[in-house]
Symmetry: C2
Subunit: 321 residues, 2 copies
């Protein structure tokens, strides 16, 4: 598998009807389809992380609304259920908005296809930031699994690799749910890109040893001023990167930019159950953090490489534009 087929990650089968999702909780050990026959089941798949990654959540929600229409169920109720599944990624709300006027299978499939096309375009732009021999580091999974196909930050790595610009990738394992160790490493292995998984806390010392040239990460929501919510640990990497003079690039589709959110302070941060960290002791489990725009060297979308000040460079790009 050079590239994960989009319909393997998420699809709508009208004969049923049903939404079929590749269950990301079981990867890389098992490749199992999760079948959802109602929007409530799709919402549950999002809530329990069977499907995760901001753009992929949006795609799944779009299929969930189309499924609802095919079944003749209450669309407003389905939208409420899907919208309440996870709070941070804005792509979910964007996709529901996109589907409202035309909740058909065709529209959902077009939305999915367009997200994957955006990935290819942003990855081509992001690859311009790589030089021959680049040693990259990435966090969580901003891969094909997270976007419905090809990937955002991992898409950038794919394109840089195809252009001969990428030497190797350090993959933060990304506790607590190990999206890096399970999903990104799996995608890089299939793509034939040299990689090594590391403990999240080892990134700093590998930066200090001079083994990291740049960092690429995805995003769950980008505020109008460029502040970016992403998987817990991204802010940590951003501070460490600044200390070591290493650029951090955010790679994400325009559907992740939320011009209605002024700054990171206004982004709701999901606190997940502590049992994801420890089943024996009390734990705290913020699932995301916010990286201030000042620590981000560039934000790359399908429209190009956007530089600070982001209030200006993102204004023509965002989903609310």
């Amino acid at each position: 598998m050079q590239e994960l087929e989009p319909e393997r990650i998420a699809r709508l089968e009208e004969d049923g009807p049903r939404v079929v999702l590749l269950d990301q909780r079981l990867l890389p050990y098992e490749e199992v389809d999760l079948v959802c026959t109602t929007a409530a089941e799709v919402a549950d798949a999002i809530r329990t992380l069977a499907v995760r990654g901001a753009p992929a959540i949006g795609v799944a929600a779009a299929y969930g609304l189309a499924l609802t229409a095919l079944r003749g169920d209450d669309l407003a109720e389905a939208e409420r259920e899907l919208a309440s599944s996870r709070p941070t990624a804005v792509n979910l709300f964007w996709a529901l908005e996109q589907m409202r006027a035309d909740p058909t299978p065709e529209r959902a499939r077009a939305l999915h296809r367009e997200e994957v096309e955006r990935c290819h375009r942003m990855s081509a732009h992001a690859a311009e930031l790589f030089e021959p021999g680049t040693r990259a580091l990435t966090h969580c999974n901003a891969g094909g699994l997270a976007t419905g196909g090809y990937g955002s930050a991992v898409g950038a790595l794919r394109t840089a690799w195809e252009r001969g610009l990428l030497a190797s990738v350090l993959v933060d394992e990304t506790r607590p749910l190990l999206q890096g160790a399970r999903l990104t490493a799996w995608e890089l292995e299939h793509a034939g890109i040299p990689h090594a998984v590391i403990a999240d806390s080892a990134a700093a010392s590998l930066m200090a040893r001079g083994e990291v040239d740049l960092i690429v990460a995805g995003a769950d929501r980008i505020a109008a001023n460029g502040d970016t919510a992403n998987k817990i640990g991204t802010y940590s990497l951003a501070v460490l990167a600044a200390h070591h003079g290493i650029p951090l690039y955010i790679v994400a589709p325009s559907s992740t930019i939320d011009l209605a959110t002024a700054s990171g302070d206004d982004i709701p941060i999901e606190e997940r159950d502590g049992s994801e960290i420890s089943t024996r002791f009390t734990a705290r489990n913020p699932a995301f953090d916010v990286t201030p725009a000042a620590l981000i060297a560039a934000i790359v979308t399908e429209d190009g490489v956007h530089r600070p000040p982001y209030a200006e460079s993102l204004a023509p790009v965002g989903a609310a534009a």
Copy 2:
């Protein structure tokens, strides 16, 4: 259990003879003794982390040499085996040196008792750095398990708690082997100190939220200039703490200071097997990192609170002095 009894962590039984270690790999789920009847078995217990923590490794090695003498085995060979078990913690080599002239059970027990006494004294000094309501963060396990009793950084937390100066503790889970989530949380629970385990990568965002007043960590080796090797992730915390204006304190016995090592560049860093990170994909697993002295607000030993410049303040304290 308010305080873990030193002889529960490590002891020598002359009737046997045998060294009995509490197997730290199984905590907090099972409390199982590991019985070693030769120095080679003690070395293996150190290598496989049944006993870990720089001072506790030294204590186990001391008992291993006394065991060798009781058995009438070759002391030079036993010392070689013990010395090769792990490279980074200097306490191992210090303890072997201490035992060479007098490899008796009495000397080993005195060394153990003295390490625990040092913990109480350094903890009293370190508690002076706390103010009422302090919210601390700690990494890995610098507790009684790591020192043979009471603890260094966790000892500081115990004493601060007894003095009414400590509000709560955030515990880095400390991947890959979860010494924080397994051992430190267990010790804090028994001591009745409020705590919450967090993913290592969440520390930065909790600092940014203003929820961390200070950080305490132990050490595996402190160079003459104050550069400090400790569990992977300590350097990461140090950079993050500096960014947020939070002091990082190292709490360790003088047996951890190695005046023969000029700077952190000269400290050997153990690379452990990648399978501790991932059994499915290639992984890199540096077990320690080096925090430059400039990022350490103070180094606390049984002799007091030492401030920069450490080349001066540590010179009268170090093990080689």
